[in-house]
């Protein structure tokens, strides 16, 4: 499964409790849509570590890196490079 699909499934199943792909677009802001709370953000960080081996530094825990599927994918690409 692609990183995008893994991330989408994770957010859909664990925060939106649905398999309906139409309720989440890759540009949707997790914060603005109320999808994640503070522990949710930590869970996403944990997922990046466990699933993709990406360690998120403190200063990287900002919405620009983590607040949507698109932002996370860009952030992962940046980290992998």
């Amino acid at each position: 499964m692609s990183a995008e699909n893994i991330l989408r499934s994770y957010v859909l199943e664990n925060y939106l409790f649905t398999d309906d792909q139409s309720v989440l677009s890759n540009s949707d802001s997790f914060l603005e849509k109320g999808i994640l709370d503070s522990t949710g953000i930590l869970e996403i960080i944990n997922l990046l570590d466990e699933e993709f081996g990406i360690v998120v530094e403190d200063e990287e825990m900002i919405p620009e890196n983590l607040d949507s599927i698109d932002n996370i994918l860009s952030f992962m690409e940046k980290k992998n490079n």
Partner: protein, 639 residues
Amino acid sequence: MCGIAGCFQYKSSVGISKNMLERMISRLKHRGPDDYGFYINNNIGLAHSRLSIIDLNTGHQPIHNTDKSIWVVFNGEIFNYIELREWLEDKGYYFYTNTDTEVIVHLYEHYGIEFVKHLNGQFAIAIWDSNLNKLVLVRDRVGIVPLFYTEADDALFFASEIKAIIPALKSKPSLNYKAIDQLLTFWVPLSPMTLFEGIKEVSPGQILEIQNSKIVSSSYWDWVYPDDNNYWCKNENDLAEELRELLIDATRIRLRSDVPVGAYLSGGLDSSVLTSIIKNFSDTPLRTFSIEFEDKGLDESDYQRTLIKYLNTDHSHVICQSGTIVEQFQKAIWHSESIMLRSAPVPMSVLSNLVRESGYKVVLTGEGSDEVLGGYDIFKENKIRQFWAKNRSSNFRPYLLKKLYPYLDLPKSSANSYLKNFFGIGIDDPDIPYFSHLPRWDVTSKIKSFYSDSMKSALKVTDFADIECLLPANIKNWNSFNRSQYIESKTLMSGYLLSTQGDRMLMMNSVEGRFPFLDHRVIEFANKLDPRLKMKVLNEKFLLKKAMRNYVPKSIIERYKQPYRSPDISSFVGDNSRDYIHYLLSEDKLNEFGYFDSFKVNLLRKKISAGKAIGYKDNMAFMALLSTQSLHEQFINEF
């Protein structure tokens, strides 16, 4: 406390069935296991189940006046009954018992419905006035003692708990979707609505007069705050002294009893204040009770021990062990008649059981102090959000919220972005009366994402502005801190803390709670305090600490305020899993009851099984789902 029930055929002259009254009152045996009593006369019937606390020998109810034209059943306590009785005897009234109930009868004879303004107590009262062919139902000022009613055909039925009214319903009971939706927003249905279709509560501070085929409702008391800046013009030391004297007297009259009185000791400031007052200002032997948790993050036993040693109290404690909550949960739902968003009420039933097993029927508790004297985090959160709203672009101001919620484990570089989203709701309109509660209601409302399609289509979703039906017209003139206190007192305190977590968990074991901080004299005094004296910057209950600093250990005065919590999801998984959980949350039962989408619930359960449901929202959602299913199973399916 006791249980009361009754029926008034107020639109017809059909006689009352004693069998019906017996069926109703028998559901309240836990509230009053010591005695039953009935009064039936044509179209009126009153029933009483008694927990004997005052006048053990002649306190049988219903109680009547001299010519037997006025009859009363009463659940609660009138703490100033001694003074009222002396006054009434001076006026020539004859008493045939030593009860506080008989004071109600004669006070009503003297004042009519204005009698209630003279009572200092906690009560649900039904008065039958045969001279006027009128039934009067009255509930105490703040909602300590419950009282419900329904209209069925030509009759009005009332009772201390809903389960005693259900036998009188003409059709099968059902849960009220609108009330569920309100609870999943405000934590409680908005009074007088209850979770049960067609059943209302007599609201705190309300009188119902049923006469001439009509029900007339009026309010005799409410939480009133002065317009901003019209507070007590006294110095801080004098106010602290006055508060201490009021609390001493409020406690003193709440120790009146013909059975021994104990006290809860949580290790927090409020129970420390009460136990210190009992120790220092009364002759009552200090007997205390506490609960401990295996989870050290929730346990306060270190502070409890500090106080036990300091006061040299005769103390008993019980440990809420892993497995206790899941074992007691269904019983707690039966008694609370409510949906629970936390498991926290359940350990309170374990504590009241300890009290009862120790031979006590009455305990004093510190409930109400946080609402009256400004102790809750939501008041601090409101102060910070108000401060932030004055400069919305500030990066520093919202960061103060992290001081309040240290568990928001975010580095400084990113915290503001997140805090602004979590707590920024309504920040552009800080003058709306319910500004303080928007973040809580917003988070709670997330549970609704689990609604089934049929639930969604059947209801008009609650708007936060719906709360305005409970708010007085002049609330906009009050300080924002006081507005927040008002909303907290009228929603969470009366509908949840005093009820689901209070009266119901006490009465489950036939134990009466008494609440000195909710003496109306204390409330009326505190409401006129400058909010800055209640919370100095972010130091909660400042004036209370000042008033009691010579009587409570410094370590308690200065401790970090820990909200009372108990484990939620973790109480129901792993070794604590039980068949009833799988049954109630099965696809079949979810679809049959119809409130929640079984697919979504299943995903939450999978998340829980994977150990990933650690957040506040998931915990609250799980508790809501399980308790709603349990409530339906016990009251709708099986009743």
